[in-house]
Symmetry: C2
Subunit: 242 residues, 2 copies
Amino acid sequence: MSGADGVLLPPEDFVARLRDEGVRRYHDQHPFHQRMHAGTLTRAELQAWTLNRYYYQTRIPIKDAIIVSKSEDPAFRRAWIRRIHDHDGEGPETGGLELWLRLAAAVGLDRDEVASCRRVLPGVRFACDSYVTLCRESPLVVAVASSLTEMFAPDLMSKRIAAWEQHYPWVGAAALGYFRARVPRARRDGDEGLAFVVGEATSRALQEACVAALVRKTEILWHLVDCVQLATAGAARAGAPA
Amino acid sequence: MSGADGVLLPPEDFVARLRDEGVRRYHDQHPFHQRMHAGTLTRAELQAWTLNRYYYQTRIPIKDAIIVSKSEDPAFRRAWIRRIHDHDGEGPETGGLELWLRLAAAVGLDRDEVASCRRVLPGVRFACDSYVTLCRESPLVVAVASSLTEMFAPDLMSKRIAAWEQHYPWVGAAALGYFRARVPRARRDGDEGLAFVVGEATSRALQEACVAALVRKTEILWHLVDCVQLATAGAARAGAPA
């Protein structure tokens, strides 16, 4: 681990480290995502990704509530609760989880089966659960740092919307509401998270722990797509239904 | 432990058990609270109670965020988040914690010192922290059951408002906003919590764990007042400033 000399990085160097370590591991570069954006995924592959990624989505409000529980500051808690509402909605039938289930229906999945998470791949479950554990077992600033993949999400979401509209028109543009909603929200969340991490990581050891948490998070996202890729490739080889 | 035969209690019996075990241990019967309501507490005693109880108040949004993180149901999470807002407020300078700090100033304490929690008694800290731990380490329904002291709060709050206005007029009625706000909120929270616990405690073992959590919670509340009573009695004996 670099930084063993314990000298606090100046804010601009710390931000550059976070961006650099995050960008080069971000799952937009995963071969499966590159095929998604090139328009070469089959319907079964899109379905497998949508079904498995839903489990990740369900972990977000849970890990965010854990983050809220780690703060002693009402203002921080107020701001972070907004993220829970983004996914749970302000009322029934609203919010990111609902939008994701509409996407699932639009790609041809059974909505209730997706919501049940029964068919989630074991490796996907392990990875997503490890995200909750990471947030539970880390100091607040490190848990927040694990959310900083949001910094890279707006570009990916914009690219994804364009690619799906072009290559998978059968899904329907109306079903892409989740991706659309995430563009401004991820930008806001990424900016706020980064400002908090820069302000609160007040030792080199904490800065390094923040970088490590962001790296771990990129591994979680990458592994999810790995698992989906492996499972759908196996199904294709065996000629089994995906 | 009763109920070793494992027969699920009918809802009305379960509710009666919860009410009975809770009511007879509730801290409204603590000698210190009885003196509070009889108007015989000194200014120093009121201050010690207000300062120490603030630490309990600060644990509420934290344990509530933990409860939110334990639920898989967006509707439950949405409803429970309201409790966090009740204490943190919807914006700066609002919410229960702010109202409590105004009460602290009105009884003659330094607001910032109270907010720092520096002078909280060790035993009070242990008891309040154990409430957070109880919620963290319990299944959701048991964590919710520990909140059911809310069922008994409206009566205590109403009695307290009347007693303070009558016996401690120097505090000022405007400073009693926290107690006033709690009357309807505690009634709502108690009713909702009870309905959830009755619905979700689907085995006798879970029912008994819920009763045990409520009993533990009454012990936490009682111990807090014990500590304040002991500390102020000691100060009175020694002639030291409380």
